[in-house]
Each structure stands twice: as C-alpha cells, then as structure tokens.
C-alpha cells in the first residue's frame, strides 16, 4: 500500500519548516554559543571590573545546582507561578469564551482587556500586596490577576473565530452537545489555549520574581534581591541563568510536547504513513472510471 504520489505539496507547509537539512538544535546551540561569546567579551575586554567572568559565574551556577537551596527556592516560586497561572487560565477561559459568544459580555469586559493588557504590573502588585498583606497567597492572587487579561484575549479571539461552516455540519448531522464540544469546538480552541498558556506563563514568570522582590521572604526573586543588596552580581547572574534554564525546560519538555500532540493532525496529516510533505492525489477513481 503506497497510495501517496510524491508530488510536491500544494498545501500549506507544515508548521516546522525544514531548515536546509541542518537540525534546528544546531541553530539553537549556536544562539547559546553567541550569547556566551558576547558575555566573555564583555567580562574580559569591555567591562572586566564590573561583569563577572564566565568561568567564575558558571562555578556559582554549579554550586547552586548541586546545593539544595536553589531547588527549595525554585519550588516555592514555581508553586506560586502554577497556582497564579491556574487562576488566570480558568478566569481567562471563562471570560474569553463568554466574550466570544455574547456581545454584551464582550462590551462589558472590553475596557478590562484594554487596561489589563497595558497595566503597570509593578504598581498593581504593590496595591494588591499592601491591601492583602505580604504573603504567598496575595502573591498568587496578584499573579492570577495580572495574567488574566492576556489569556482572556487569546481565548476570546479563538472563540470569535469559530468556523461557522463546521458548526453548520454539526447542526445538519445532529451532533449531540457533547460531540459538538469534543469534535468541533475544543479542537478549534486548542490553538488559542496553547498560545494563552505561553503568554500567561511568560507573564507569571516575569511578575513572580518582581513580587518576591517587593516583599516576600522566600523564592528566587527574594534570593536575587539579597544578592543584589550585597552587590554580588555573580550570584544575581547565576540565579538568573538557573531560573531561565528552568523556564526553557518547561517550554521544551512540557509545552512543546503538548503542542505536538495537539497539532498531530497538521504535522503528520497522512496519519501513520507520516507523509506530511505529500498530498495524496486523486488516483484511485481515475482507475475506476
């Protein structure tokens, strides 16, 4: 069984374009190498008195990674991020879907979106932290509040762009409510939801350290502030590197895996045969006719 003729695909290329046979990992590694080279240049030639050297910083990184403290602080911070993000995601999902379905709800939340996506997060954090007290739960609530608008926007746009043609198919063929949600609506929301996860997590990672700097006594942000107050730039950079490494890990191990699963139908459109580059041509019927 070799049905797919190997004509060039007339369809949209799959999401991941081939980059001239060189694996993408090579380009990613190249990016890291360039960044390190620039750092090395800065620490040895340009500002040798200010910027810590690559070697000594990596040593500190090594100490962090082999000690227990980093993981404890990272866990505290990650918990805040996940809980804050969860609040924001549920809120965004509910508000965004409602906005996509109802003009009244859309109008009601319109200003919230405009304000929310451009609000000065630092000030908002100050207000909420002072109002609710300097505790981990206020931090979580603040994060949830700050990430809600951007998640809402994603879901709202997705809900607005639902394919009415497929909706009609579901109606004509009498799809049940469950079948409609499962086969017609959710697959369309998956893309926007994934975008919302990315931007939402991005915002929470960013703000969590800021909030921890402002007034908490634990977490990555707190540790970095302490190092900063001691003018220990090497530790600041080491903490930042470890933190970023963790964020990258989440992106590549978790989010991309989910993405591949969701978009399997687009990347491997030919199913098991994995002939994503070939669109099967109509040959069978010509033979019949």
């Amino acid at each position: 069984m070799a049905p797919a003729s190997s004509s060039a695909s007339r369809r949209r290329r799959t999401v991941v374009d081939r980059v001239d046979r060189v694996p993408r990992a090579v380009y990613r590694a190249l990016f890291v190498a360039v960044a390190v080279a620039l750092w090395w240049l800065a620490s040895t030639v340009l500002f040798p008195t200010v910027i810590p050297t690559v070697g000594s910083t990596l040593e500190t990184v090594w100490h962090l990674l082999t000690g227990a403290d980093f993981y404890r602080q990272l866990w505290v911070t990650t918990q805040r991020v996940l809980l804050g993000f969860a609040i924001a995601f549920v809120a965004g999902l509910v508000i965004g879907t409602a906005m996509g379905r109802s003009k009244a709800v859309e109008a009601f939340f319109e200003m919230f979106i405009v304000i929310g996506t451009s609000q000065p997060g630092l000030f908002v954090s100050m207000i909420i932290l002072v109002a609710l007290g300097l505790s981990s739960s206020s931090a979580i609530i603040t994060l949830g509040y700050l990430a809600t608008p951007i998640i809402t926007v994603s879901i709202w746009q997705g809900a607005k762009r639902m394919d009415v043609n497929l909706e009609e198919v579901a109606t004509v063929f009498g799809y049940s409510r469950m079948a409609r949600i499962r086969h017609v609506i959710l697959p369309q929301l998956a893309g926007p939801a994934l975008a919302a996860v990315r931007t939402g997590l991005g915002i929470t990672w960013k703000y969590v350290v800021m909030i921890e700097m402002l007034g908490l006594t634990e977490g990555v942000g707190y540790e970095v502030t302490r190092s900063f107050q001691l003018f220990d730039l090497r530790s600041v950079i080491a903490w930042t590197i470890c933190f970023l490494a963790f964020v990258l890990l989440v992106e590549y191990l978790v989010i991309r895996t989910v993405e591949r699963r969701i978009y399997g139908w687009r990347d491997r459109a030919a199913g098991k045969l994995d002939a994503a580059e070939t669109a099967a041509e109509d040959v069978s019927l010509v033979a019949h006719a």
Binding site: M1, P3, A4, R11, R12, N165, L166, E168, V169, A170, T171, V172, F173, G174, Y175, S176, A179, H183, V184, P187, W265, R266, R268, A269, A270, G271, K272, L273, A275, A276, T278, A279, A280, E281, D282, S284, L285, V286, H288, A289
Partner: protein, 257 residues
C-alpha cells in the same frame, strides 16, 4: 405510486434587510422529489437555491406554503466545500457523524463505515487527515460521510463547483454510481447546465430572484450521457433559452456553466 420523498407546495420566503425592507427570495415555489429520483435544481447564481435547500433540510423556516420533508435524521447534506473536521481522520469523520445519527435513527446501519470508504475509493486513506488528500478526495469523503448515515434524502449544494472540471467529472461518475447503488433520493443544486443534464433524472429550472419554477424537465436520455449526444445539446439549448441566456450565437458546449 409511493409518496414522494419531499414536496414543496407554493412555498414563499423573504428576508428582512436593514432599514425595514425585505427581499423576496422564493415566491410560490412548487417542487416534488419522487423517491429514488435525482432532482437537479438549476438556476442563475444567487437565485435562492441555497434557501430552497435550507427549507428542504428543515433548518430554515418558510413564510408561506407547505413543505413535506423527511424527519431531520433522514436527511444528509453535502456542501459546496467538503467541510470535514480537519483534526479527525477521514474514517473518524464518518464514524463521528454516524454515531451522532444513530440515536435518533433507532436502528442499526445496514452497511459498515468501511463499505462507504471503499465505495468512495478512500479505504487506503482512511487514517489520513483531510489536509493530506486532494480536494476531489475531500469532497468524496464528504459525500461518503453523507451517504454513510443512510439518508432517505441527500441534499447537495453545488458540491462540485469548487473543483476543477476534470476532477468534477470523476466525482460525477462516482456520484451516479453510488446513487444507483444506494437508492437514495438526491436533490442537487447547481448553476451548471451540463452538470444537471449529465446527472439528473429530472431538472427543475428556477428563475432569478424571487425564485419560481420555470419548468420541470424529465431527462430520459440513457446514461452514461455523452456531451456529444445531440439530445444533450438540444436540452441544453432549451434550458438556456428558458433562463434567457439565448443570445443567438451557437451555444458553446463548454463543460462548466
């Protein structure tokens, strides 16, 4: 004589437009589709053919007249484009739709999904997602989906107009074959005169808006109908004259209308 599959009697329909006015789309339209017949509704673009299908499918209410149509779960629909769920394989597209219908239907399907996929020449492609097969195959999958719910009436809204002519021809052959095999009533909307002549057992020629039936023509030219058959040419001239496109020139026997 068995009862017809669908009857429209003096059906009228108008749409409200902005500013308080309204457009009459159908005016006093009468139409009968006998069981097992292949009725082509033919008219100029924008004459309200889709509205006729909407009323026949029971999804669109009409303003006046009588519509006797089968219950919704006995009607299947093929759209201008395939409208398959892109995130489900060809086979899943059929399965999901069949599963949706089985509840209202109340009895098991006579044939399996595999039968319909094989008939459509899609068996080898059953695990493909729609994006991986050609447009013609997608449309055939959508016809297989409609047939696989074993409808008593199949409504088709210009199903081949988005395909190139060569592909469309293959699809027409396929449709005729399956229509003979499955004995379903087909109501087929088109603005392509030759397509109607090639396929239909009767052609309902409809006027420009508001749509009225200009004439109902039973086509008794034996199949397969050749475009070089003089009877086909004569019928085409007659229909074009009805539609007022008779400009005195020898009518081009072009394949798309």
């Amino acid at each position: 004589m068995p009862e017809p599959a669908a009857v429209l009697e003096r059906v009228a329909k108008s749409y409200k437009v902005g500013g308080g006015g309204s457009i009459d789309v159908l005016d006093d339209l009468t139409l009968t589709a006998e069981r097992g017949s292949f009725v082509a509704i033919l008219g100029p673009s924008g004459c309200g053919k889709s509205t006729i299908l909407g009323i026949l499918s029971g999804l669109l209410p009409h303003d006046a007249g009588v519509a006797r149509i089968p219950p919704p779960h006995e009607i299947a629909y093929v759209f201008q484009t395939a409208r398959l769920l892109p995130w489900r394989t060809i086979e899943q597209n059929l399965e999901i739709t069949r599963a949706a219908r089985i509840g209202q239907r109340g009895h098991a399907y006579q044939r399996s999904t595999a039968d319909y996929l094989k008939a459509a020449g899609l068996w080898e492609y059953r695990s493909f997602y729609p994006a991986a097969i050609s447009g013609g195959m997608q449309q055939r999958a959508s016809i297989a989906r409609a047939l696989s719910v074993e409808p008593t009436m199949l409504l088709m809204d210009e199903p081949f107009s988005a395909l190139d002519e060569l592909t469309a021809r293959t699809q027409r052959t396929f449709l005729l074959r399956t229509w003979r095999d499955y004995q379903s009533t087909i109501i087929f909307v088109t603005h392509n005169v030759l397509e109607a002549i090639t396929l239909a057992s009767s052609i309902v020629v409809v006027s420009a808006r508001p749509a009225r039936v200009l004439e109902r023509i039973d086509v008794d030219i034996p199949r397969p109908r050749s475009l070089t058959d003089p009877r086909v040419g004569a019928l085409q001239d007659r229909i074009l004259a009805l539609l007022g496109v008779d400009d005195g020139e020898p009518l081009q026997r072009r394949a798309s209308g």
